[in-house]
Amino acid sequence: MQKTKYNTIAMASFALLLGMLSCKPKNAGNAVSADAAAKAYVAPGKYDEYYNFVSGGFSGQMAVYGLPSGRLLRVIPAFSVDPEKGYGYSEETKPMLNTSHGFVPWDDLHHPEMSQTNGEIDGRWVFGNANNTPRVARIDLTTFRTTEIIELPNSAGNHSSPFITENTEYVVAGTRFSVPPDNVNGDVPINTYKQNFKGTISFISVDKADGKMDIAFQIQCPGVNFDLSHAGKGKSHGWFFFSCYNTEQSNTLLEVNASQNDKDFIMAVNWKKAEEYLKAGKGRKQSVKYASNRYDEKTHTATSTIKTEVIVLDSKELKDICYMIPCPKSPHGCDIDPTGEYIVGSGKLAALIPVFSFDKMIKAIAAKDYIGDYQGIPVIKYESALYGEVKKPGLGPLHTEFDGKGNAYTSFFVSSEVVKWNIKDLKVLDRASTYYSVGHLCIPGGDSKKPSPKYLIAYNKITKDRFLPTGPELAQSAQLYDISGDKMQLILDFPTIGEPHYAQAVQADVIRKNSLKFYKLEENANKYVSKGEGTTKVVREGNKVHVYMTAIRSHFSPDNIEGIKLGDEVYFHVTNLEQDWDTPHGFAVKGAVNAELLIMPGETQTLKWVPERIGMFPMYCTDFCSALHQEMQGYVRVSPAGSNVPLTFSLGTNLPKAGPEVKK
């Protein structure tokens, strides 16, 4: 009771405070009203209305929440190992995290982007970017598993990614750090940035049938920082827009030095034109090294291939691919409205939001209405591409989503608020406070042609006093707003994993109906599958011992193994023989400097174990599977190197002298 009162007072005073700070006074409706709980309530046993895919930031993973309840449904491991699921620990999944640098167990996932067909979310895949060691991941939404990861050469800090074109023709990746290209000697003085550093954007093709990714081409651009991007849609399909900052080309103290120019750029890329040049052979082949990792759903095994060549188009030589549109003060968000006409730049240090017109931009290009060039790329006159500016909207605009009803919602980091404004007349319609320091926003389908504007979610960078304290480190938070009416209404706070950056949401029906329930045993093509207990065995190949094992409620076969010797590498290939939904088994063995396996029904997964001492090693099922789960266990006997204990395995065979009380 006391806490509720305190919260209400705190919230009210905060709302009041922000109201006084911003230009438009707030009314009491901005505080949490009585019906908020009912709006976010999803009764036990009932499903949520939307899936919400939220970046896990420095956790490297992607989280799946249900909306409007804010319930965490799943954490999908993408760029970081996940011992809970054996991801990055099982022999089958280790290759997923291979790179040209070797095995990288962690990354920083910033932006989920769902695949689209005709500009609408089609529910097939969700992509995520790795911001540290540049990569893009593709998650299959039938299995909710990362099924492919591709590394990006000539890049460093893949931030401007993984945004897609309206039929998922391409996923893009713009480098946040410009660096010397991979095929030249990068051992140069850092302060030769202007001569030696280049900014590369990559166009990754996505196979229409199976989603497989390949780097179709890269475009070499001036050395700047690419921040965010979005594809044109409808009339602007064929164009891609990238926000750039550090057009000052500074290599130190960017906080100050990259904030000098009054305007940076939004770079417009005519990718249809780039395709023509590519076809005409205008690209140059460049030797590089990057990993392409694919998970095969039939063998349940990932394969990592190092590729050695990309085709690079030069933005300076091939004049009509790239154009710069001046955009005030270090733009972050670069968002295209559902009609494809309006391009909203969010200069994070600006006190206004510029809205550009695609039609005007095309006219300006036709008329060569340029004010000069930036390192060989034409710079369009600001006014000639500008539709208009939203004046004094708030402080620190970051990112904009759309409701498909002519309105835009922009987040303001510095003034901690979401501002709703009308695209046509550029007037501010409503403001709602966030708690605190909002980054990205999400409206279901909010960057597609067809938003579903019932809710808006704000992803906040700072939580402070919103939840019970948990020591110095606090969960970051998401806040759910009902935007079905004219005014935004805060209805729920929920904590997130890692740091939430961008997120996407979609009506549950788009995904739910395709969700896989189990892997078919008949189709299991894992090299080490055991189809039935009759085929289980233990095979020694030199110092490698392969255990072909099965799991079913509630025993392993075999569950007694002897004849393992110190110096052996033991591979437990565990096949889950169950063929029903929600019947995973786990597998763990004492002392393994590894994780567990979590094996889905019909799947085979492999745990490598190198025993480091002699003795008796229990193994057991880690995932509660039945009333006799606690009986699901076994032993492995490890003998000294050179021991003559024969390799044997069994199930259900107690030795004669096991004890007087054992009778059959």
């Binding site: 045993l521 009759g534 079913i552 025993h555 029903d580 039945s626 009333a627």
Partner: protein
Amino acid sequence: MPNLVPVIIKSPNLISMKKFISVCIILTVLYACGNQNGTVSNSSVTDENKTEGGNPSYDPNRGEGKFKSVEVSGKLDDVMAESGNKVYSVKCSSCHKTTEEKLVGPGWKGVTSKYSAPWIMNFITNTDEMITKDPRVQAQLEICLVRMPNQNLTDTDARQLYEFMRKNDGVK
């Protein structure tokens, strides 16, 4: 070796006392709740009349599922039985022996004389529902305590398995 409770079918209108019916309903509700946990209290499965009274549409001879009647010839179809053997070794052998010995579930020896062909094929394809509704399965669950998993057999798999069971029971 588990004893199978014999099924006595009585027409519900012979015992149409109001009081008795309400007892049946209560027992059925309890019975259904017990199923959720995979365990059933002793009192709930002792009287078939009660079970039937609470669930009059359930046919304990046929079970519940898509198989109404199954065409079975007097002679064994060897090819079909051999296919059934393959399905058995992948999806069933972990828990069922072909002898009378119980492993996780009961041994299969004699199964085709205890249950009708539709009952068996319904049970192995519509497992969850049958565990919930069938008194003999309920009794079996009290012994085994592991709910039989649905192994997602196709109709053909089910028929082949049945033929394999017949072979196992000595049909030539």
